[in-house]
């Protein structure tokens, strides 16, 4: 017992160490890329911010105030330095500090993403394992085709159809979710349900597919047959032998989508007028609010990378093969 826990800890630490180095490097590259794309490519930032009727003196003054005069390197260092100490600048559109705005919206997006996640995972596990147990039958094929066509249709089309059915005809949920950011818990839940369902539907197909292949691999394996022959009850077999193996491939997909879910879904938030980070960034891009956009990208990038780190850790905890491989390669 002690050896496994030690191995587990070293493998985890190794992975964590690698990620801890990797995440800042990736974020650094993202910050340079974003800075270059948003401040250098479009030209003079002061001119862009103040519009074509501002005088040259006003533009120079604006550039000086916002630290975007001087060489590109000093400009970049000024921005990233400010970002590090929490001074993210002022939003042009909202005239409030960028930091408060971004963090508040991030909270809303995290909430919506988590809700979608909570809806999606059990459904995917149920559908996927049901498919695996009836592999090749017509119901298996029907679920695959249905889910794949759902994910091929843009989210805003699916959302519009669901809005028509549930908000306009059945009137069980409101058409707009803007009110959802305040109010008591059940009000918020009611308002957020439809956006969360639309968000979940987009990723359901891939996730179900992974659960299906994981489960079908597990139930055709030797160890599964052994467990059956041993006379274990089917509940025990599923709990002890199938679930773990079925979930390992699923986790890798989950990691990729968790970041997207939590970082704010641009389309769903816009469609339902939900006050999330994604919708904020669309406004920022539309109105050329550069500082807001840059901070939004950095935060979204950080959230995606942390989500990947989180799934890596879950991976190691769940799949013994990864632990052993890590030991052999060390």
């Amino acid at each position: 017992m002690t050896t496994t826990s030690v191995e587990r800890r070293t493998a985890l630490l190794g992975l964590l160490g690698k990620r801890v180095v990797q995440i800042p490097v990736v974020l650094l590259v993202v910050s340079i890329l974003t800075f270059w794309l948003l401040q250098v490519v479009p030209g003079n930032p002061g001119r862009n911010a103040l519009g074509q009727y501002a005088t040259a003196a006003q533009v120079t003054a604006w550039n000086h105030d916002n630290g975007v005069d001087g060489s590109l390197v000093t400009q970049y260092l000024h921005w990233i330095g400010g970002f590090f100490v929490g001074d993210w600048g002022q939003s042009l559109v909202y005239s409030t500090p960028v930091r408060e705005l971004v963090l508040e919206r991030l909270g809303n997006s995290l909430l919506l993403g988590l809700y979608a996640f909570v809806i999606m995972v059990p459904v995917a596990i149920a559908l996927g394992s049901a498919q695996a147990y009836r592999e090749g039958k017509r119901s298996d094929r029907a679920i695959t085709v249905g889910l794949l066509s759902l994910s091929a249709i843009p989210e805003f089309v699916v959302g519009v159809v669901l809005l028509l059915v549930f908000a306009v005809w059945l009137r069980v949920v409101p058409v707009q979710s803007a009110a959802g950011a305040s109010g008591d818990f059940f009000d918020r839940l009611r308002v957020m349900t439809l956006p969360a369902v639309v968000l979940a539907l987009g990723y359901l197909a891939v996730l179900t597919r992974m659960v299906r292949s994981g489960t079908s691999e597990a139930i055709t394996s030797q160890f599964h047959r052994t467990a059956v022959i041993k006379g274990l009850s089917s509940a025990t077999i599923v709990r002890r032998h199938v679930i773990r193996n079925a979930l390992v491939p699923t986790l890798s997909v989950l990691g990729i989508y968790l970041g997207t879910l939590l970082g704010g879904s641009v389309i769903v938030e816009t469609l339902f007028s939900y006050p999330g980070l994604g919708a904020l960034m669309v406004t920022a891009a539309d109105r050329k609010d550069v500082l807001l956009l840059e901070s939004g990208v950095m935060i979204t990038g950080a959230v995606s990378l942390l989500a990947l780190l989180f799934t890596d850790i879950c991976f190691v905890l769940m799949d013994p093969r990864i632990r052993f491989n890590a030991r052999e390669t060390n």
């Binding site: 990736v26 590259v29 993202v30 890329l33 974003t34 794309l37 948003l38 490519v41 479009p42 066509s149 091929a152 249709i153 843009p154 989210e155 805003f156 089309v157 519009v160 159809v161 809005l163 028509l164 908000a167 306009v168 058409v175 891939v206 997909v253 990729i256 970041g259 997207t260 970082g263 641009v266 389309i267 816009t270 469609l271 994604g278 960034m281 669309v282 920022a284 891009a285 539309d286 050329k288 550069v290 956009l293 939004g296 990208v297 979204t300 990038g301 995606s304 990378l305 990947l308």
Partner: protein
Amino acid sequence: MTATIPRSAAPTAEKQGPVTDDAGERPSRIRSLLKRPSFVISVLIIVWWVVAALGWQIVGLEPYAKTGDLLASPDWAHPFGTDNLGRDMFARVVAGAGPALLVGPLGALLATVVGGTLGLVAGYYRGAVDTLMMRFFDVILALPSLIFLIVLVGAFGISTAALILIVGILFAPGIARIIRAATLVEMGKSYVTAAKLQGEKDSRILFRELLPNILPTLVIQATLSLAAAVFITASLSFLGLGEQPPSADWGLAINENRIYLQTAWWTVVFPAIGVASLVVAANLIADNIREVSR
């Protein structure tokens, strides 16, 4: 859509045998494609939208003029009803095929050319440039694609040319990675070694020897990114970051008219059907080509 791309690379790249039996294979591939009803229907849908995009002016539709009452429900004069400015929704949906078919396909073409070339060069020369390029692409692919898209829109703006460039930049890294992997497989084969020993020029080996052999992979990637590009441009114009009013673009129409969802569902539903039919048809074509070339 991103998750399906890597799977297609390996089998096709390995399956490609000597160049000679390719000629006999190609007609039968097309024939087996034509036997698939989902492929034929999808092609018909795309053809219909292409005809609509090119021909709506010829048949005299008026998508930009007030031709009826405001928000009138569908009747004989206006089969899809009218919008909040009294414009005929049928004319607008038909004319909306134009912008939908402009940015996506041209962007996908740009991505295929750029990504294909970068992948070929990286796989052929290897070395530091290759490593640097792939690491850089890893960083880009780590960001959610819509977020990267929004940054690109912030940088280049939303003119049609800029949007084509943006879609090209967005899809090129993914294509480059897969073409690089396919090139690496080909590099291990003897015809490349033979060509090198013969003293053929690098450019000749790249484009006359390697390119024909990875062409099937490239075609699959091109159709897959075409479907994804149509999807992405529709999403962009829905976000208001694409076509601007009074354009008849479908995504834009859905965003403009969603406030009338309760009173005039037809202003939203018909553009939505337009988007869905085009995107699903493009996806089905890509899927069918991928399955047939396995």
